[in-house]
Symmetry: C2
Subunit: 396 residues, 2 copies
Amino acid sequence: MLPQDALQCGKEQNLIRVISEYAAKRAQEIGAENVFNFSIGNPNVPAPEIVTETLIDILNTVPPAQLHSYTPAPGLGWVREAVAEDLNRRYGTSYTASDLYLTAGASAALAIVMKAVLLPGDEVILFAPYYPEYAVYGECFGGRIVKVNCRGADFQIDLEALEAAITEKTKIVVVNSPSNPAGTVFSQETITALSDLLRRKQDEVGHPIYILADEPYRELVFDDDMTLPFLPNDYDNTIYTYSYSKCLSMPGERIGYILVPPKAAEAENLYASVCGAGRILGYVNINTLFQYMLPKVLDKTSDLSIYKTNRDLLYSELTKYGYEMAKPEGAFYLFLKSPEPDDLAFCERAKQFEVMLVPGTVFGYPGYARLSYCVDTDTIRRALPAMEALMKTYTE
Amino acid sequence: MLPQDALQCGKEQNLIRVISEYAAKRAQEIGAENVFNFSIGNPNVPAPEIVTETLIDILNTVPPAQLHSYTPAPGLGWVREAVAEDLNRRYGTSYTASDLYLTAGASAALAIVMKAVLLPGDEVILFAPYYPEYAVYGECFGGRIVKVNCRGADFQIDLEALEAAITEKTKIVVVNSPSNPAGTVFSQETITALSDLLRRKQDEVGHPIYILADEPYRELVFDDDMTLPFLPNDYDNTIYTYSYSKCLSMPGERIGYILVPPKAAEAENLYASVCGAGRILGYVNINTLFQYMLPKVLDKTSDLSIYKTNRDLLYSELTKYGYEMAKPEGAFYLFLKSPEPDDLAFCERAKQFEVMLVPGTVFGYPGYARLSYCVDTDTIRRALPAMEALMKTYTE
């Protein structure tokens, strides 16, 4: 009597959330200091002080009837203009407010784009391992998910496999860099080659293939010499989504955007379709208090240096214990090779050591497990003996 | 190449918003004091002071890494518990946190319920005139909209017409009281009769027919002697949605909930399906700052007395000028009979007097126009000569 997809999605729940809630329960039972919750991408460093200061200042100065009123659905014009200017300053572009649609975080942005673009039967290519909600959104709106495995050694895009997977039905290719769950950063060379390939395939199939860029981790690249390509500058048919959750450490507040570059195919219709999709999915406008805040914090981040410290510590120590992994170049995730083929069994065994990991199966990539290291470095230090003991159950 | 429903919805836009944006443009051109914007339901009275105080207090006392972090998707347990207790105190019920799912306002709640309940071909009954987004959400998720006109004189439910419209495909009946756009309050007698009818029809068709109650105007009933029925107490299969937008004057901040009463048919699955639908539509959790605020303001409202003042003034004066309307008993809307059959032409003519009204056609009820009087009383006083002059173009 009820729709199977909604029922199923609600019953299964998001497994990442389930593990995270188990960790919270264990913390109550045995003390938070004895639980090593590496399950969820919830930043541990606080939002920068300017966030609190700005919010209080707005509350003290903007009259409430104005501050809390409806805004245009894509967001206040002057707020979107500020976001456009910030992009233009960073990437040498010339976007305006009317290219932007503010969203309640990246999830809303992704769901809205899928609804705005997909016709039943259209194919969405995901590079595995991938964030599982891509498939949830894509399938809900009639899309068929086509999985293309990354190259196992470094989790870079396997261009040959991608080329083989593209059909006349291909409509969207999701690109997430730095990536969740592997922390991979796609280099300029990779993106150039990807763009060339997609342009060629577009001509072959005779219709636009959109890149859906999902880049909430873009401020989190560890190598200072590495410049993250800005995809709309390489590939015209890029629909670009961003969230301020991770770099400002405020994932609960839901602030992000969709950029529809004017160069994209059918850009005007595409933007209208994004507006229509937002309306259909029940989005009215993102919270006005946070719209007012946004222009003041566009070039700010939390202190992100801890993530590099954590990455270095984990990579060097876990490697010593015998774990195998690609060295992450960004985000705050490690993707460990499971010491046994069954990653679910491995993650269950890790729980016995109070270590919470997420099985690679969740990300469409069995045989691995994700470790989120957006925790304080001391937690990692205390977890290392548990990680070592866990590996010893396989090697001794 | 793009889905027609999203494209259409984006191009048409919400006509109410379009008129409201026209009003803003006119205000810039000729001065806000010369524009009588009765188009949008954006409360003019400020949020109660406790809203600002509470938000600042939370920002000053809760550590940012905690305050702005992810919460469980349905909302923080202690916040939902507080909402449940508030309902229990008001309505003698015994709900708990696990019956509630916090939403980004009423629109999100309605879209989520439609997605959670509807199978392709299921019918959704709307009492016309109705808030147009009901049809947008219902149709997007495969529902077929069945329109049942209210009784013209008082806009009460026409039970005979409803009975005739119910089929084996009927899955949802939307009940909105006090209503937008007519300001109608459904009495206890009406709701009792409606419940009896639906129970009988449920038995006939052999499956649950859910009432989807949409009651954001619940605190806005003008007659102190009138008690608004609480639908889940009358009819078990009620899915109840609420928003704090209107009574707290903060429509831009998106705070509401879905209540799935444990007595409802398939309640456990229904709640799971609501969670799944929220996930599918890209909702993660409602903004955490406002979750923290909610328990402190549950029994507070803005100063709502102005709306009764406005209603009384408008009803008495407009009637004198020759306008026909049912006297609204709640919300902040008047539904005027158009002096000419074509309500779109009437609203265009009103614009010449700088009066912004929304055609009844938008609400599935041609020949009428909605006047939103959530404006200050002085604006109404200044608008009266324009309303009189407008009517005179028809009568002189």
